[in-house]
């Protein structure tokens, strides 16, 4: 059994679902952001894997993975800034306690 595309897809699926689980269940906003990072990485694995196994002629998958990393960095920067702002104003980072917009 040689290493194939499916292996990487299974890995990314599991990683994605772990990230999603973190987003669905964690109360801490920072933890949720970490879940987002996991999901982005799962997507990146898919991009690079598909680049190698499906369309190796060009490097578009890797280029896109790099762009995603860039966006992940931006997302982390802005998201964490939001977390800090929320903490300063509401004294909590637990998203179920941040309910200013609730009815």
């Amino acid at each position: 059994m040689t290493l194939g595309l499916t292996h990487f897809l299974v890995l990314s699926t599991l990683l994605f679902c772990l990230g999603l689980f973190a987003m669905l269940t964690r109360r801490n906003a920072v933890a949720i952001l970490m879940g987002v990072e996991l999901m982005l990485n799962a997507a990146n694995i898919n991009l690079v894997a598909f680049n190698k196994y499906v369309a190796p002629g060009a490097l578009n998958g890797q280029v896109f993975a790099l762009v995603v990393i860039t966006l992940a960095a931006c997302e982390a920067g802005v998201g964490l800034a939001l977390v800090m702002s929320a903490y300063r104003n509401l004294e909590t980072v637990h998203v179920d306690e941040i309910n200013v917009m609730k009815w």
Binding site: L20, M23, L24, T25, I32, V95, D96, N99, V100, M101, K102, W103
Partner: protein, 647 residues
């Protein structure tokens, strides 16, 4: 210079606009502006007239206004010999009266507005004169009517003045209606308003043989147009407004109701003379002649018994206008226009003189005056010159023009000639009656202190007096009758001067003067005895032939009665129906209110309640927690994936 003719009506119009805009802040409270406007127009007119003497051709200026089917309505001016004569009369007499008004209206609070009106009148009158088509002429016609209305009612605080202005307006409208019908008839049969084209077509026989209601169409058209002249020139039976128009300021009476506007009817007949002339058997001219003769005689008889100096002059004006009509009707195209011109000068002079007298005496009643000859020499002498001119004493202006009319009448219809001669006698009689009452003897009023009017008033009197004395010479036969050469109708030849007719005319005038002197100066025959002797005739004349009463009975009262009946109908029937509808509407509205309250509002409230309740239930879905939403999204993705997999 004829290309500049359009400036003539524009100058007074500009003056009018300036006075309306800036009022008393202008030099001389607006009077100087108005005088400048009319004065420049007068200079231009003189220039154009001089050009006309040199034999300049008729000049037309056309501006396309409204395209109308295949033809177009043009704004057009026409300058020909007839126009120049009228321009001269209007602007010269007008400027004299403008100057005179500065003195006469000096203390009036609405001084500026008076000059604005006068300027507007001058502009309208000049427009009327210069028009080259019937529509334009009609516009000027109505504008002068409007100015007449405004100026008669200038002292609108006085109920009689307000009533007089209304009467003048409405009465002339009756004539204008006929005129308008005539204009429409011309347009629909000939397809044009322009005089030149109308004349060309009529001359070519375009209307020949056409009949309307058993009458030749051309005659009908001419008579309808003459209807306008009857109204405007105060001919019988629409003459009743002119004596009442004396409620206006005296310069207005002189300018509008003696010299210019009332002559517009005569001018209009002269302008469209071809229509009258070409009517089969001169039918329309016969109508004109008879109306003119009747008017001349009837008004002269009424003038004899009037005590108000201005009313005497008003009836005299009506009478003289009748003369002009008679002249035109008796194929005396040049004679009628000649009399129009001379009359404009001496009647304006007489009115201004009367104004000067009124200014001094503060009354219109000639029986309250007397002996003014010494107190007001300038007024006296000029008034006397005007009277002599009007009475037809040679060599004053009136003699020459009246003689031509008498000559024409003598040649064409002896009956009319007799009436004209009688009117001439009466004219001399009533004018000298005024002279004797006003200027001769001693003053009968003890609290009046008559004094001569200021120079600004007497100077125009003298100017006009010179014209009144001398202007007749332009039509003098022994000078070759230059007026007739200047203004004549194609195909008409003036009858030769006749010593017999001239002597008869002078004799009638002399007899009138002598009779007046006998009754009012030497008192050979006391006027009371004369009155009793005349008996019922006197009563008839004193009541002005019951025209006003006739109109009151025939027109005013029936109209009022119909109006009253309609009012009753309105109050009891229409209002009842309206009220019924109102009540029905009210009842329906009450019903609707119930329906609204319980059905419409109920439905609306139900909808609101449903929305509120649904919102109250659904708001629990919006937890405000992103993770709940995320779970929902995840579930949605699952559902979509499953659907994609197991379809």
């Amino acid at each position: 210079m004829r290309e500049l003719a359009w400036l003539i009506p524009v100058l007074p119009l500009v003056a009018c606009a300036l006075i309306f805009a800036f009022g008393p802040r202008l030099p001389g409270r607006g009077a100087y502006v108005a005088i400048a406007g009319i004065g420049l127009a007068a200079l231009l007119s003189i220039g154009i007239f001089v050009e006309g003497l040199g034999g300049a051709k008729a000049h037309e200026l056309n501006v396309r206004w409204v395209p109308y089917g295949q033809t177009a309505l043009d704004l057009g001016l026409r300058v020909d010999n007839l126009t120049t004569v009228m321009l001269l009369v209007v602007t010269i007499v007008g400027s004299m009266i403008f100057v005179y008004s500065v003195g006469y209206m000096h203390d009036d609070p609405r001084f500026s507005r008076f000059f604005a009106y006068l300027s507007l009148f001058a502009a309208s009158m000049l427009l009327l004169v210069l028009a080259n088509n019937l529509l334009f002429l009609y516009a000027g016609w109505e504008l002068v009517g409007l100015c007449s209305y405004l100026l008669i009612g200038f002292y609108f605080e006085k109920p009689s003045a307000a009533r007089a202005s209304m009467k003048a307006f409405v009465t002339t409208r009756v004539g204008d209606l006929f005129m308008f019908l005539g204009i429409l008839l011309v347009f629909f049969t000939l397809g044009t308003f322009r005089f030149e084209e109308i004349f060309a077509k009529v001359h070519a026989g375009a209307l020949e043989g056409m009949m309307v209601g058993g009458l030749p169409l051309l005659t009908v058209v001419a008579v309808l147009l003459f209807g306008g002249a009857i109204g405007k020139s105060a001919q019988v039976p629409l003459h009743t407004w002119l004596p009442d128009a004396m409620e206006g300021p005296t310069p207005v009476s002189a300018l509008i109701h003696a010299a210019t506007m009332v002559a517009a009817g005569v001018y209009m007949v002269a302008r469209t003379y071809l229509l009258f002339f070409e009517s089969p058997g001169h039918g329309a001219l016969t109508v004109v002649a008879w109306i003119g003769a009747v008017t001349a005689l009837m008004a002269a008889t009424i003038a004899v018994v009037q005590d108000d100096i201005k009313r005497v002059l008003a009836y005299s004006t009506i009478s003289q206008l009748g003369y002009m009509m008679l002249g035109l009707g008796m194929l005396g195209y040049a004679a009628g226009m000649f009399h129009l011109m001379t009359h404009a000068f001496f009647k304006a002079l007489l009115f201004l003189g009367a104004g000067s007298v009124i200014h001094a005496m503060h009354t219109n009643d000639i029986k309250a005056m007397g002996g003014l000859a010494r107190a007001m020499p300038s007024t006296y002498w000029t008034f006397l010159i005007g009277t002599l001119a009007l009475a037809g004493v040679p060599p004053f202006a009136g003699f020459w023009s009246k003689d031509e009319i008498l000559l024409e009448a003598f040649h064409h219809h002896r009956g009319l000639y007799a009436m004209a001669l009688a009117a001439a006698f009466l004219t001399a009689f009533y004018m000298f009656r005024v002279i004797f009452y006003t200027f001769a003897g001693t003053t009968r009023s003890h609290h009046a202190h008559p004094h001569e009017s200021p120079a600004v008033m007497t100077r125009p009197l003298w100017v006009l007096a010179v014209f009144s004395a001398g202007i007749g010479l332009v039509g003098a036969p022994f000078l070759g009758n230059p007026f007739h050469h200047y203004l004549h109708f194609e195909g008409l030849k003036a009858p030769a001067f006749s010593w017999g007719v001239a002597l008869a005319g002078v004799g009638a005038s002399g007899a009138g003067i002598a009779a007046a002197a006998a009754v009012y100066h030497w008192k050979v025959v006391p006027s009371g005895a004369l009155r009793r002797a005349a008996g019922p005739l006197f009563t008839l004349v004193a009541h002005k032939y019951y025209f006003d009463e006739l109109y009151a009975a025939a027109v005013v009262r029936p109209t009022l009665a119909v109006a009253r009946a309609l009012r009753t109908f309105d109050v009891y029937v229409i209002d009842l129906i309206v009220n019924l509808f109102g009540f029905a509407g009210l009842g329906l509205a009450r019903l609707y209110r119930v329906f609204d309250l319980y059905v419409v509002d109920g439905a609306v409230n139900l909808l609101g309640w449903i929305a509120q309740t649904a919102g109250g239930v659904l708001r629990y879905v919006q937890t405000g927690r992103a993770q709940n939403y995320l779970l929902a999204i995840a579930l949605g993705v699952i559902v979509l994936l499953a659907a994609g997999l197991f379809r």
